[in-house]
């Protein structure tokens, strides 16, 4: 176990380098010169000498790889430059907006787990009965609605019609997080529910369950033990796979609900071509994603001993 975690950590190093290199390279490719961009965005006219001086100061006259290493060095100290738009340090801006996004993501995941596991199990147990069809249809609908459409509908019904939740988030609170997280949870639950149902059906058809049933062991006891564990593994696998779309999906939902997180920050930055902010967003999101993947991977092995032996590829 420990050995595996260490190996995974070591594998992470080249990936992290690739992420930083790509994030840096991509933004350097982004059309016009960083210095000119900055000058243009802050307004006013500037002389060629000023541009040259700024370029030298930023080390933009040096070879690309030297620039990259310098940038990495600064990055290690938490220095990612300043936003072209607000003039504030990029790193602290990002850090100040990250908790809101993490809260949104965590609440969405919790909602998803709370909804999809019980409903998935219920649906499986009642296979081909009314409840199963209702749940499956609902999950199908949830899976086929774009999240921006869902947000608009939720906003209209729950904020305007019922006045239960605020339209715009005033602060980072449970009440404000409700609608955006429900939006994200709807699509995810719809997907997971189907998987949980399939897993449970699979488990229920196994010989030991059938045997236990034949022996007269109470149905729910066997189910709760093994079936719950099996569906948990499914959920974790799926979470790993969809954490990426969750992190990206927050961008759309955050901008609709005015949720002051990194997703809205990124969309605003893209519109204003505020490259340092975009760069920070892309890079840190990738790093978070990779780390989450690592953690789930390791816990996955811990939960399911079969994989530990099998050594399947991840």
């Amino acid at each position: 176990m420990k050995h595996y975690a260490v190996r995974r950590l070591l594998q992470l190093i080249p990936i992290l380098f690739a992420i930083t290199f790509l994030s840096y390279g991509m933004m350097r490719l982004a059309g016009s010169d960083v210095v000119e961009q900055k000058m243009e965005n802050t307004g006013g006219t500037v002389s060629q000498e000023m541009i040259d001086a700024a370029r030298e100061e930023l080390g933009l006259d040096k070879p690309f790889i030297v620039q990259y290493v310098t940038w990495l060095g600064k990055l290690a100290q938490g220095d990612m430059g300043v936003s072209y738009v607000s003039g504030k340090p990029v790193f602290s801006t990002f850090v100040s907006k990250l908790p809101a996004t993490l809260l949104l993501a965590v609440v969405s995941i919790l909602l998803t787990v709370i909804v999809s596991i019980p409903l998935g199990i219920w649906s499986a147990v009642n296979q081909n009965k009314a409840a199963d069809y209702v749940i499956r249809t609902a999950s199908f609908i949830g899976n086929s609605l774009p999240n921006f459409f869902v947000s608009l509908l939720l906003m209209y019904f729950f904020a305007i019609r019922l006045n239960w939740f605020p339209v715009i988030s005033r602060d980072v609170s449970l009440q404000s997080v409700a609608l955006p997280s429900v939006t994200l949870a709807i699509a995810m639950s719809a997907k997971y529910l189907r998987q949980v149902r399939a897993t449970v059906l699979d488990e229920l058809s196994k010989d030991y369950v059938l045997g236990a049933k034949a022996r007269g062991v109470k149905f729910s006891t066997t189910m709760m033990k093994s079936v719950m564990k099996a569906s948990l593994v499914t959920i974790i696998t799926l979470l790993t796979l969809s954490i990426g779309s969750l992190l990206g999906g927050t961008a759309i939902v955050e901008s609709i609900f005015m949720w002051d997180g990194v997703g809205k920050m990124a969309v605003d930055a893209i519109n204003m071509r505020d490259y340092p902010i975009i760069q920070a967003y892309v890079m840190w999101m990738a790093v978070i994603y990779v780390l989450v993947n690592l953690v789930t991977d390791v816990s996955y092995r811990y939960l399911d001993p079969r994989i530990r032996l099998g050594g399947t590829e991840q």
Binding site: I15, F140, I270, M285, Y289
Partner: protein
């Protein structure tokens, strides 16, 4: 379920799946045809403005009403299929073909090609989906083709992985070994024995991908990073009509329902294809 089933029951089941498959395939083909011939079948010019007809509610003349410029919403939704359905199909086709080819080559030849391509795909996969697409959109600027490129870059590794895994499994199988003994060269081997056998899982992956890709493409347009006005595209139309959800709801609901129904159709088709391919449901 693992209940002992007779061959007869299995055959009935298989037939039912086949009927379903044809039904959804029929719906999907209609959608594709609509997107192909959108310009010919629309009742009005989707871009012709007539301010005198601004914001008309649905009526026999304008089935889905008109927008604020007096354009016929139904015509715009139909033409929007061209942008949404057609672009998505192109996107999925290109990424699945590219991914499958690279994945198969990697799996078959292994060694350097394999490790290089897989590391590249690792990096592509290291960036969470839409985040990477947003970054690429930022780099390239808005526009439908740029949005398609952005999504293509993040979605090919998925196919490469599936194809590689399948190829690896097949490479060590008896019949490939036999073919090798019979003197087939690499090209023959891949074309005759490997590709036909991995197409199933690839097709299922691609089918299930269409709905997701369509929604992500619409999402990018909704954020203003995909199709640009006046191009009629569903995400874009919804974003333009957002402020009229309460006052002129048909402007938002028409494209919204169009996306929903299209995604449902392709998702159902994908599910059915998967069931059809599933050996558990195979009657033979």
């Amino acid at each position: 379920m693992n209940r002992p089933v007779t061959v007869r029951v299995q055959k009935v089941k298989k037939n039912r799946i086949r009927t379903r498959l044809f039904f959804f395939l029929f719906l999907a083909v209609i959608l594709v045809l609509v997107s192909f011939f959108a310009d010919q079948i629309v009742p009005y010019d989707p871009y012709a403005q007539d301010l005198g007809l601004s914001r008309q509610p649905p009526s026999p003349a304008h089935f889905m009403g008109t927008d604020q410029y007096g354009r016929d919403v139904f015509s715009r939704v139909v033409v929007g299929a061209k942008a949404s359905v057609f672009s998505t199909l192109v996107l999925v086709c290109v990424t699945s073909v590219f991914g499958t080819v690279t994945g198969t080559l990697c799996g078959y030849f292994g060694r350097e090609i394999d490790s290089v391509v897989m590391r590249i795909s690792d990096v592509c996969l290291a960036f969470p989906g839409l985040v990477f697409a947003l970054a690429i959109a930022a780099l390239l600027g808005g526009g439908m083709s740029n949005a398609v490129i952005a999504l293509a870059v993040i979605s090919w590794p998925k196919y490469a992985r599936v194809a590689r895994g399948q190829t690896l499994a097949l490479k060590n199988s008896d019949f490939v070994a036999a073919a090798k003994l019979a003197g087939d060269n690499s090209a023959q081997m891949i074309l005759r024995h490997i590709l036909p056998n991995i197409l199933g899982p690839i097709l299922v992956t691609a089918m299930l991908d269409i709905g997701t890709m369509m929604m992500e493409l619409a999402g990018l347009s909704f954020l203003g990073l995909g199709a640009q006005p006046p191009v009629a595209e569903w995400g874009n139309m919804m974003s333009g009509g957002r402020s009229m959800l309460q006052t002129y709801p048909w402007l938002v609901l028409s494209p919204g329902v169009a996306i929903f129904l299209t995604v449902v159709t392709f998702n159902l088709l994908g599910d059915t294809v998967r069931d059809y391919m599933d050996p558990k449901n195979s009657g033979s």
